[in-house]
């Protein structure tokens, strides 16, 4: 009974006969401590702040603040050309920058009516799934570190570094990738990339099995996570939870399967769903999703064929360097492309994609200029972070750390 949310809530009540005397100078009543966690605190994932009123170790009430790394991305989106804005999308969810790049490219392509070639879509899918695995590995790894399981994190972190090396082979950068272009990609995948990817997939499968054996049935891990930070289906709908956090509570929805974009229709994968919506279930959903993403990656590597990576659309095609360096027209084209940018026809669209954290959306309103009229970014972290206060109400303060780690808040996406 005590290991349920209601049970924990009932413990907040003061003992019978315990009277609180009202002192006008004592803002917090008797026996209450206000703890200010963050903005810079090792247990907070990024510059977040939580102010909690504690009764002993139990959180009675809390509120959250963020915005410490706000970089005005939406304002910049109205003042940069569509091509320029790609680099800003890296800095949203920096643990899975490639997914942001791909979603942004899809959003602008939707407004312009551009279809990219098949190989481009396969490479984009590989990017998304690689980024998803990296994001999940860091999420479950850091969540375990917060609860004291350090070696588990290192298993995952090694594979994550290897994944970054693969990303580096694709685009030359490890963290801030800026890999996609509107209507194409920065570069084609190098020769033999599929082979290296499949070798990495096979190795990662083994590592994930090892990680699973290491932690999942660990008694301490289970005691710290089962029944902690429960957020049920109704709560998830009220707070617009999406992605793995919603699936852990039994909402069987994955935008890759249910609103497919790219070529997700042509690959086979399962959508793992759990029922309880606690920290343990979120961990299990993420672990199973890594396995599914590995399946998708090996299918992509098999199905990818040689071909063009750029769409034929003249508006967005970046001129070839040989043309730019050798002809006057090419030079002017290049200059115009990068200085004034291409124009996006008037229209508005909300483009969503199943990012590692949940539904990442770009709501772009264009008035026909080379800059957006409105560039709204819907980061899943905002909605998840909003749920943390009700989620940890009545829990111990140490469990707040577990709950916060399990919903995977990324400050870059939260603050934008």
């Amino acid at each position: 009974m005590t290991n349920t949310r209601e049970g924990r809530r009932s413990q907040i009540e003061l003992p019978v006969g315990y009277q609180v005397e009202h002192d006008p100078d004592d803002l917090w009543g008797d026996a209450r401590v206000v703890v200010n966690i963050g903005p810079t605190h090792p247990a907070m994932h990024g510059a977040l702040r939580m102010v909690a009123k504690l009764n002993g170790e139990t959180i009675e009430k809390s509120y959250c603040e963020f915005g410490f790394t706000h970089r005005a991305k939406e304002k910049l989106g109205e003042n940069r050309t569509f091509h320029n804005f790609t680099v800003y999308t890296d800095r949203l969810n920096y643990c899975s920058a490639l997914i942001n790049n791909v979603t942004y490219a899809l959003a602008v392509e939707k407004l312009m009516g551009i279809q990219v070639p098949e190989r481009c879509m396969w490479i984009r899918m590989i990017c998304c799934e690689l980024a998803r695995i990296m994001d999940h590995l860091i999420c479950i790894g850091i969540n375990a570190v917060d609860l004291g399981a350090f070696s588990f994190f290192l298993y995952g972190f090694h594979q994550r570094e290897e994944a970054y090396t693969l990303v580096e082979k694709l685009c030359g950068a490890r963290l801030t990738t800026s890999f996609t272009r509107i209507g194409g990609l920065m570069a084609d995948a190098p020769d033999g990339f599929e082979r290296e990817l499949k070798a990495w997939v096979e190795k990662t499968r083994k590592v994930i099995d090892e990680m699973d054996e290491l932690l999942t049935n660990n008694k301490i891990w289970k005691k710290r996570t089962v029944g902690v930070g429960v957020f049920n289906k109704e709560d998830c709908m009220q707070y617009s939870f999406s992605g793995p956090n919603a699936r852990a509570a039994g909402i069987d929805l994955d935008l890759r399967r249910d609103q497919p974009c790219l070529l997700y229709k042509e690959v086979e994968f399962d959508v793992p769903v759990a029922q309880n919506g606690d920290v343990f279930d979120r961990y299990m959903v993420r672990l199973s999703e890594i396995r599914q993403s590995l399946n998708i990656l090996s299918q992509c590597a098999d199905k990818m064929k040689k071909g063009p990576i750029w769409s034929e659309d003249k508006r967005v095609r970046i001129p070839e360097k040989t043309v730019v360096h050798n002809t006057m027209e090419g030079m002017i084209h290049h200059f115009k492309f990068f200085m004034t940018g291409f124009e996006v026809p008037p229209g508005e669209a909300y483009t969503q994609f199943e990012a590692a954290n949940g539904e990442l959306g770009f709501y772009i309103v264009s008035k026909g200029a080379s800059r957006a009229h409105r560039m709204r970014i819907r980061g899943p972290s905002v909605w998840h972070f909003q749920g943390i206060s009700p989620m940890v109400e009545g829990e111990k303060i140490a469990d707040m750390v577990a709950a916060l780690g399990s919903i995977n808040i990324i400050a870059g996406e939260l603050d934008r």
Binding site: E348, Y350, V382
Partner: protein
């Protein structure tokens, strides 16, 4: 080519896939609310991905509730609340992006808001609307009546002006060196 050019697999086929659902829903909403629906923009006549339903400011809560709870609609997932500064009259448009988990289709509801006027808050329908509305207030200065705690969210509480309005300069920096104090009222 623009958004009406179909891109299979990137929302281009939605008009075919959901066209009938949208048409029946919109005729139903028109019948129920009559003059409460100001305007409707469909994907085949206006460059948009999903239908946009313009609602009268006073009717927005009823319409949102209808979309959320009626049989055949079930738009239970509030994907986003945001606004645009149209620099005209009325100045702002608040947009609600809704998503139906059972039908897997989306719709957009919009309200036109003149500067300085308030619109009803949707917190009674979705608790998660709280922060989204605070952000709209912070960035555009649109007030939501009935909101439990309407204060700035991304910007500092001492900030002057609303950054995403078109007349706010891009380099309108305001630097604060000391942090915001803990607010005891919020822990009651």
């Amino acid at each position: 080519m623009d958004i009406r050019h179909p891109i299979p697999g990137n929302g281009g086929d939605w008009a075919v896939k959901f066209g009938e659902i949208w048409n029946s829903q919109i005729s139903q909403v028109r019948d129920t609310f009559g003059a409460g629906i100001e305007d409707i923009k469909m994907p085949d006549t206006y460059p948009t991905d999903v239908p946009i339903v313009y609602v009268q400011r006073s009717k927005i809560l009823e319409v949102l509730k209808y979309f959320k709870e009626s049989v055949g609609f079930e738009y239970g997932f509030l994907a986003d609340i945001t606004a645009t500064d149209e620099s005209g009259s009325p100045r702002f448009e608040v947009a609600y992006q809704l998503f139906s988990h059972s039908r897997l289709c989306r719709i957009r509801i919009k309200v036109r808001v003149p500067e300085g006027e308030a619109i009803p808050s949707a917190v009674s329908l979705w608790k998660g609307a709280d922060w989204a509305e605070r952000e709209v207030f912070d960035m555009f200065g649109i007030t939501f009546s009935g909101h439990p705690n309407l204060r700035r969210i991304l910007m500092d509480e001492r900030w002057v002006g609303h950054p995403l309005r078109k007349d706010y300069p891009i380099r309108g920096y305001q630097i604060f060196t000391d942090s915001q104090a803990v607010d005891p009222e919020r822990l009651k």
